[in-house]
């Protein structure tokens, strides 16, 4: 039950994009197009889960025994960036269809704040190994949910009569704010 609560809280209550305001660059950059958003959401979820597993192992087996917890940010940055590079090389060779689907999104993730934030929060909250996996998958799906919702709205917005000064990003910011308000409603769930 604990895991379920953690999962729901990561997806809805503490949604990374809409309540913690992380990963906004890709959230606004990609969300013009629904199919691209689905690809991005999937890529973020899987990369985030894998890097947080790796980061958890490094933190609790290398950094903590040596008393170097304060190095976690810089080490996780190196970890994430290198891991994404490695993953790109591998799927380019082993799974070309997946590579074509993810394509550039994978490299965009390499220096993304969400992907760095999740491993950092995992160790900060002293999650166990399983808890951190559940939390990462939940956060990834929360991001996917937010970006897919946003893309569906923005595809509809293309046909709306938006005042000229607000066209494009302006109205997107307003819509994101409203989505954030709506997600605030989940905070009473637990």
């Amino acid at each position: 039950m604990d895991y379920l609560a953690l999962f729901i809280s990561a997806v809805l209550i503490n949604n990374f994009v809409l309540t913690k305001f992380l990963g906004l660059c890709i959230f606004f950059g990609i969300s013009k197009n629904l199919s691209a958003s689905v690809g991005m959401g999937m890529a973020v979820t899987s990369v985030m889960t894998m890097t947080s597993i790796l980061a958890w192992l490094v933190y609790f087996f290398v950094l903590e025994p040596l008393g170097l917890q304060f190095l976690s940010t810089i080490v996780f940055v190196i970890l994430t960036a290198s891991f994404v590079q490695l993953l790109e090389l591998i799927i380019k060779k082993q799974a070309p269809t997946l590579y074509n689907m993810w394509g550039i999104y994978l490299l965009l993730i390499a220096t993304n704040c969400i992907v760095l934030a999740v491993p950092l929060l995992n160790v900060e909250n002293h999650y166990t190994f399983l808890q951190s996996i559940v939390f990462s998958i939940g956060s990834g799906l929360g991001f996917a949910l937010a970006i897919i919702l946003m893309a569906s709205i923005r595809e509809k917005l293309a046909y709306a009569d938006v005042p000229k000064p607000l066209q494009g990003l302006g109205v997107a910011f307003i819509v994101a704010g409203m989505l954030g308000l709506a997600f605030l409603g989940f905070s009473g769930m637990m």
Binding site: G67, S82, L86, D161
Partner: protein, 276 residues
Amino acid sequence: MEKAFFILLVLVGVGAFFGIVLAIANKKFAMEVNPLIPEVEDVLPKGQCGACGFAGCAKYAEAVVLDPDVPPNLCVPGRAEVAAKVAELTGKKAEETEPRYAHLKCRGTKTAKAAAYNYQGVPDCGAAKLLQGGPNACKFGCIGFGNCVRACPFGALSMGEDGLPVVDKDICTGCGKCADTCPQKIIELVSFEAPVTVSCSSHDKGGDARKYCKNACIGCGMCMRNCSHGAIKIDKFLAVVDKEICKECSDPTCLTKCPTGAIGSLTGKTKEEKSA
């Protein structure tokens, strides 16, 4: 002091570890790029229109080089010239491509058509269609906000003064982007050989069709009865020309018999003039 040493050790260790892993992976998972691919890509017109069925020119170049089943003549905008070059580079046999161009199956000019209501929204055919199928009384015809004009990667389309898009047959490459984007699906790709075509898409009953638009095909069947080859059929109040039979016809009597002028010869150049 000891701590500083550990910091150095951990950072250098992590950096070196990933450096080495990446270097090994780079060797192990190295992709060989066929030098022919960029060469073929250079030959292609780079309209990125996707008429070949691939996502852009680079993808087609890759496919045509690597896959022996992909023919070299898929590039519609490039016509025979590019097909020949691609065939030469890839060592495949070039086959004749039939040049095509976009043709609008609607003659609902501003003066000819009746309006259903006064549309004041976004000037976009797709948006207008969402409101009861568009502002025209005829729900099949051209809405006239020029989505096709904006979609054309080669600038072959322009909006005519009569409210219908005009195709410049010399520039049009037949890529079909406009046909895909048209929400009414009334742009057809016709070959230069097709002598007769019906420039109307209305399936309304004769009386209604005429009320909605003066130039509509009313499905009277005059053309069908006058065609000695049996190339014309009426499908739900709309004449349909069988292009395979029609190709052979030397004196199209159907053209003179049409009461509304919906059926017409493609006044554009013939195939011979085009290639000359």
